[in-house]
Symmetry: C2
Amino acid sequence: MMEMKEIMEGERILIEHHLEDFFRQEMERSSDEPLMVELLEALREYTLRGGKRIRSILAIMGYKAVRGDDLDRARKASISLELIQSMLLIHDDIMDRSDERRGGPSFHRIFQGLHERRGYLGSAERFGYNMAVIGGDLAESLGEKVLAASGFPPERVVEAVRVQSDMIRDTGFGQVFDIHSEVRPSWSEDMVEKVQKYKTARYTLEGPLHIGAVLHGAEEGQLRALSGYAIPVGIAFQIVDDILGFFGDPKRGGKEDLADIKEGKRTLLITKAMELAGGEDRRLLMETLGSDHITVEEAERVRGIIRDCGSERYSRMRASELTVKGITALEGADLEDDVVEFLKDLAGYLLDRA
Amino acid sequence: MMEMKEIMEGERILIEHHLEDFFRQEMERSSDEPLMVELLEALREYTLRGGKRIRSILAIMGYKAVRGDDLDRARKASISLELIQSMLLIHDDIMDRSDERRGGPSFHRIFQGLHERRGYLGSAERFGYNMAVIGGDLAESLGEKVLAASGFPPERVVEAVRVQSDMIRDTGFGQVFDIHSEVRPSWSEDMVEKVQKYKTARYTLEGPLHIGAVLHGAEEGQLRALSGYAIPVGIAFQIVDDILGFFGDPKRGGKEDLADIKEGKRTLLITKAMELAGGEDRRLLMETLGSDHITVEEAERVRGIIRDCGSERYSRMRASELTVKGITALEGADLEDDVVEFLKDLAGYLLDRA
């Protein structure tokens, strides 16, 4: 376990070096265009501001799992996932109208602030949102370029581009489910797992592992084993994240307390509570879900309901089951032993955060 | 000239067949997920709704120009550009808060309407914008996949992905300039040409020609000749477009009359008028630029000023000069004769629309 964390910390540092190098080069290419440098610098700061680099690390692990040995090249390619992540976070913050991300201003807020400080004409808010739409699109295109310029054999790069494109597609699909979960009156546990499967499992775990693996020409059976691990562990990861976001320290998740309730998100925790809670409690949940105006007393009662109705216990149990299922999928797979150990430890770590 | 139009019409039909095939396959792949099918169907309808397919056609011409002969495969790959175009239009309409596009509702309006009809919870407007953020990101990822799945030799596909990524980057750069032109008090002719160079010339002409050309392994000199044509002709195209958008029939450009004035866009037409117009006229231009409330009388006066101060004449002359420059760049280039003829005719046609 200790070793897993050390590996992650070591990889994180190397990945961030590659990110710095990449942005330095991109800014040099644009050095005669100050507005472009400004946008790239904002994207650099935003991307490097924080995060565990879990997606990049998983790409490197996917590559190692199928016995790839040009690790430095794999790291260089893996930053593609941090750029795609920036795209998704920047656009997510537009959708949620979030002011903060990773302990700093959200991307649109950076440019809103700049507009205000410089006394530009027109609406600062709109300027910020528009720069964030463009900034996200730019990040996506840079993510594609990183793969294209990685120097791996072209047929493998083409495969990685295809996998990455499907990953973004599936993430979009998860977001579509997510958005619909906020606007539809009813929502089932089955639908909740679908959001988690597409938005987190495919995106955070399976996609990165596969991208790394295909860069070393992984075989079908190897990709299947990685999926068998990634999908259940990814769903468990999201369940735990939702619990943390509900009860946890807002500084850790970077999200406001009860943010999911206020946004009306149907997480497993909330959907299950709706099913288990009694009449009065259920009515309160329905009322507060998606409401911007929750009193301190209501917030306390909502937290109490979730805890007492058995929804939290159920969610934790479900996350454990899924983690076991994921770990089991790695047994006997044709994958590098060290990486299998790492992935098992990682699954345990993700589960125990809560 | 007649022939150029016939070629374009024939290619347009074939491109749209490929687009239909592509969307049919993507929808089949998602057939068990109705929400995804709904998003893809909206993207299909939006993409196929109209447009001359000029970017796809130019990609095919770039491929032919360097003597590529698998035209059917080139057409299949070229639809990538229509998907990227959808991404940019969808996100542009979010930024401009536009209600219409190509004679139908803008993408966010499609989903806003759907929200209203189905009586979903929450804000229909916000639902629409959020689905459009996702829809645009999806279109970009599909555009990448089309190239990756085109079946051209992998080393050429990788090069095309790289060129396409740079094209999107440069387009973003043009948009950044564009947005800044609306919020900064002063703006020069030099800056205007920069917006045009990045936003239109690189994107509409050079990028597509290069993508097609590298799919057949174009050489450096061939790419340079295509750039020598694309950049000036692209700038001329934008200058003419701005004139059309100012005086022309709003049905043709799909834009509201005087939309550029209301948005505060600094086109060459407007920037030059600011320079040439006398004190009183100049003041009126400054006042109306970026203003939502222009009276009928003011609009008539603004149009009169632009016409009379010499700015329109200057813009047309500049567009002609640039067109000649672009056509000249094709002389003696190592490019297929038929394509050279086509490109010359196209440049003339783009200039004479006004």
